[in-house]
Symmetry: C2
Subunit: 169 residues, 2 copies
């Protein structure tokens, strides 16, 4: 695309986040990072994105201070990508997206009755549904407070992705 007007210095906060988050690949990579996938190949397989896109986006996320590259071994040097505090704070955005989709983006019965991704409040054990405040104990929910549980359907899909990736070689 041609040079589009850069919005990172607009005064509008939604404009600023849109510059980073208004990108499919960024959103998918963030999803994987929140899910605990930190390796390049795993992220590429899970998101279905090509390696150069993953590479480019991880670089952008790193330069924005959302993600941190950490070597998990020397010889050969291998890296993992970790969310920084600024990155972890994006949980609210992803959680809101997930909530909206759970409420609107599935046809009846498509998820087998429940949520595609269940979230359990670690502190009290309640299923929080898509709430912002725990329906069990009333606490405000943030990253770390919740434990994600993919539905059997979602788990199966993830397994399929992993397999077809490794089957290609």
């Amino acid at each position: 695309m041609p040079k589009r007007t850069d919005l990172s210095d607009t005064f509008c906060p939604v404009g600023r986040s849109a510059e980073l988050l208004g990108d499919r690949a960024v959103l998918l990579i963030l999803r994987d990072l929140f899910f605990g996938n930190r390796r390049f190949e795993v992220i590429a397989a899970n998101t279905g994105l090509g390696p150069q896109l993953v590479s480019a986006r991880l670089k952008r996320l790193e330069s924005e201070g959302v993600v941190e590259r950490r070597a998990y071994q020397e010889r050969p040097v291998r890296h993992e990508y970790w969310l920084t505090a600024k990155g972890k704070d994006l949980f609210g955005v992803l959680y809101a997206m997930r909530g909206w989709a759970e409420r609107w983006a599935y046809r009846d019965g498509e998820t087998g009755g429940g949520s595609a991704m269940r979230y359990i409040h670690r502190a009290c054990g309640s299923d929080v549904g898509t709430a912002l405040v725990c329906p069990g104990c009333g606490e405000t929910l943030g990253y770390g407070d919740l434990k994600g549980e993919p539905s059997p359907e979602l788990r199966a899909e993830q397994a399929r992705r992993g397999r077809s990736e490794s089957a290609r070689r």
Copy 2:
């Protein structure tokens, strides 16, 4: 781009929303719609997007059931774009994006001390900051409960956009 793998039928809820929301133009248009701008030209001017992009995205939003086209006059027929219930429910996502940006995307003092966009809880009058639950009365916050107040800096920028748009003719 080449046909990328469509994620609207993945089981992952974030993947499904990413298909719609992982797009700068969609995010900016939604921002304007939540702000109360419903006319094509106003949206185009405010977002800085070209008319064919605005047109294409409004069509997509309409086909997704997020936006509704309503004629506000006959002879000549003129339309406005209104958020549907499904669209209004995206407020949580935009609000989370705004909150994140307010916390992380400004250098010190850039906003003149406060938020770029203040939100006031209509019911009790408190400034909610970037909270999900009103710090004054403890109520959960959703679209309609809040009144947005752009900072002087943001207001000035919006005025500038409007002017430079009309000055081009």
